[in-house]
């Protein structure tokens, strides 16, 4: 049985169909990628799963349960964690504080929560920065904190929205290792990403979206070679018979 099933989910904003009848299903232990050109509706779909939006139509099934329209905090209690594309650390607080907020979902005891938070921070190489204020971190560290904080909630599945945007190539590689490590610990990952080599190298399966609709899904190789995907990203001129000129 799939861990997460997105069944015919649509999200309309007035007349705009941001997500249009998308269906996908994610197995436990997978790293599942969601790609598509800018404005394709990836984040919107994410937000539907994470509870920030309620889908206009369709259903979201997690572990056999219909969780369509559940609020974000209840989704988190289901052990689905989530990071944001634009990181949102609690800036005026320390790194440890940030992670502790996450850890509190498993215990109401402060020292237990802090211990667990420290454990997670160490795994993300932030252990020695526990006392640093979040606003003083580098962007790479902030992204790590974002992940660590979500991991502190002990999730079964992690939704990651462009966690590698703005990172240098070596940082991207580090993050890929982190993702694989997270998966090896039993966490299923559902990620949006724009950095092609990253998502291609780490995903087990990928869904491609354009204009809110799913164009195809498959493993990285199938996706990379799919005509429709190529056209979607690079424009008509890149399809078979095109001249290969690209405007971006």
């Amino acid at each position: 049985m799939a861990l997460l099933e997105v069944r015919n989910v649509s999200k309309h904003f007035g007349g705009l169909k941001a997500v249009d009848e998308v269906t996908l299903s994610i197995e436990k232990g997978q790293i599942y990628g969601l790609i598509g050109p800018n404005g394709a509706g990836k984040s919107t779909l994410f937000n539907c799963v994470a509870g920030t939006y309620a889908p206009t139509m369709g259903a979201i099934i997690y572990d056999g349960r219909d969780v369509t329209g559940w609020k974000p905090w209840d989704i988190c209690k289901l052990r689905i964690g989530r990071t944001f594309q634009i990181v949102k650390p609690f800036q005026s607080r320390t790194v440890l504080y940030n992670a502790t907020v996450g850890a509190f979902i498993r215990t109401s005891n402060r020292s237990e929560a802090e211990d667990r938070a420290m454990e997670v921070l160490r795994k993300f190489h932030l252990g020695d920065k526990a006392g640093v204020l979040a606003k003083n971190l580098t962007i790479a560290d902030r992204k790590r904190l974002e992940m660590a904080r979500a991991m502190a909630t002990d999730p079964e599945m992690l939704l990651m929205d462009e966690c590698m945007a703005g990172l240098r190539p070596n940082e991207v590689d580090e993050t890929l290792d982190v993702l694989r490590e997270i998966r090896n610990q039993g966490v299923t990952i559902f990620m949006i990403e724009h950095i092609m080599r990253a998502i291609m190298s780490v995903s087990d399966k990928i869904t491609v979206i354009q204009f809110g609709r799913k164009i195809m899904d498959g493993n990285p190789e199938e996706v990379a070679n799919d005509e429709r995907v190529i056209k979607a990203y690079l424009g008509e001129s890149y399809g078979a018979g095109g001249d290969g000129n690209v405007a971006a």
């Binding site: 994470a50 509870g51 920030t52 609020k71 974000p72 905090w73 988190c76 209690k77 964690g81 989530r82 990071t83 944001f84 949102k88 650390p89 609690f90 800036q91 005026s92 607080r93 504080y97 502790t100 907020v101 996450g102 509190f104 979902i105 109401s108 402060r110 929560a113 006392g131 204020l133 003083n136 904080r149 979500a150 909630t153």
Partner: protein, 342 residues
């Protein structure tokens, strides 16, 4: 963060202890009722601002109608005392409960509003309550007396049961104790899960939600606790001054003063409200006492200036620079060269 030598820590502790002893023994040598009154009001404002801070600081919103809860406390305990002979010591808990219920009732719809709209809505509720009270002469068996306010019947001598004393000294200790308790509650609360959740929700609501926090619920919780404690201060004020009326105790000026003391001191910190009260109340009282006949409103001009200057240069409040100054001072007298951490 403060990993100093034992010498530094000892000096720090000793200074704080000395301060505590000093504060607790002031009435022993200070006999002027005027100055004791100033201190009492200072502690009262520190108290009320600390309770305000639970919502305005930790929850990250700007409530500008908190005087309503002071008033509810004052009116409830006094009215119960006059009509039913209930001791204000008991009546104040009724007032606190009512305030909490009203606060939650108001909080549920308003805490969903955007920052500016929330502030305006608290003002509207606050003013609405004031107008309601001003228009009510009788509420069943209870005399409310509309705009003229209520006088607490003056009983001869010291009457502990009736929460009245002839000298200022008992009031001093009562409010000092209340302040210490409320500071402790705030400190303890900030170290619990609801405290973390509240602070997180106030700072980054979306992120907090994704971490399992039902932000709205915690804000409402904070509102309830804050209103409850605020009302207790209202009863104290009623028993101290023995007379209050709607425009004063339910007024917008009062609400604003509470907010601004916290903001100048340092919203969201534990010492902030106390620091703010310490700095602003004496200015307010002294200019009022000595200058109000010649230059009416001067203390408000000064107040306004301070507000602007602090917001321009130290928007997080004065606690931060004061803390740095204190640490620097501590370093000097303990003879150490320490790196200043931010």
């Amino acid at each position: 963060m403060n990993s100093g030598s034992t010498k530094r820590k000892t000096i720090d502790t000793m200074l704080k202890l000395a301060l505590a002893v000093f504060v607790f023994t002031i009435p022993v040598w200070l006999s002027s009722p005027t100055y004791l009154q100033i201190l009492i009001m200072l502690f009262l404002f520190a108290y009320l601002t600390t309770t305000w801070n639970l919502v305005g600081g930790f929850a990250g919103v700007l409530p500008l109608g908190h005087s309503a809860y002071v008033g509810i406390g004052a009116y409830t305990s006094t009215v119960l005392f006059i009509s039913l002979g209930v001791s204000p010591w008991i009546g104040m808990w009724a007032g606190a409960l009512i305030a909490a219920v009203v606060g939650v009732f108001i909080g549920i719809p308003t805490l969903k509003l955007r920052g500016a709209y929330f502030a305006l809505s608290t003002m509207a509720f606050g003013e609405g309550i004031r107008v309601l009270v001003e228009n009510t002469m009788q509420l069943g068996p209870f005399t409310i007396n509309g705009p003229r306010g209520i006088s607490v019947p003056l009983l001869p001598g010291n009457n502990l049961l009736a929460y009245q004393f002839t000298s200022k000294v008992p009031y001093y200790y009562i409010i000092l104790l209340m302040l210490c308790v409320v500071i402790f509650i705030t400190w303890w609360f900030s170290r619990t899960r609801p405290g973390y959740y509240l602070a997180a929700g106030g700072e980054e609501p979306e992120a907090a939600q994704a971490l399992g926090v039902n932000v709205a619920r915690y804000k409402v919780l904070a509102m309830g606790i804050s209103c409850f404690l605020t009302a207790l201060g209202g009863t104290f004020l009623a028993q101290l001054t023995l007379y209050f009326y709607p425009k004063q105790i339910l007024g917008l000026d009062f609400s604003f003063e509470l907010a601004f003391i916290a903001l100048i001191g340092g919203r969201g910190t534990i010492a902030g409200p106390v620091v703010g009260a310490l700095l602003l109340r004496p200015v307010s009282e002294l200019t009022r006492i000595y200058l109000s006949s010649t230059l009416p409103g001067l203390h408000l001009v000064i107040f306004g200036l301070v507000l602007i200057l602090v917001m321009l240069f130290q928007p997080r409040g004065l606690v931060e620079p004061l803390e740095r100054a204190y640490n620097w001072f501590l370093d000097r007298i303990s003879g150490e060269r320490k790196e200043v951490k931010s």
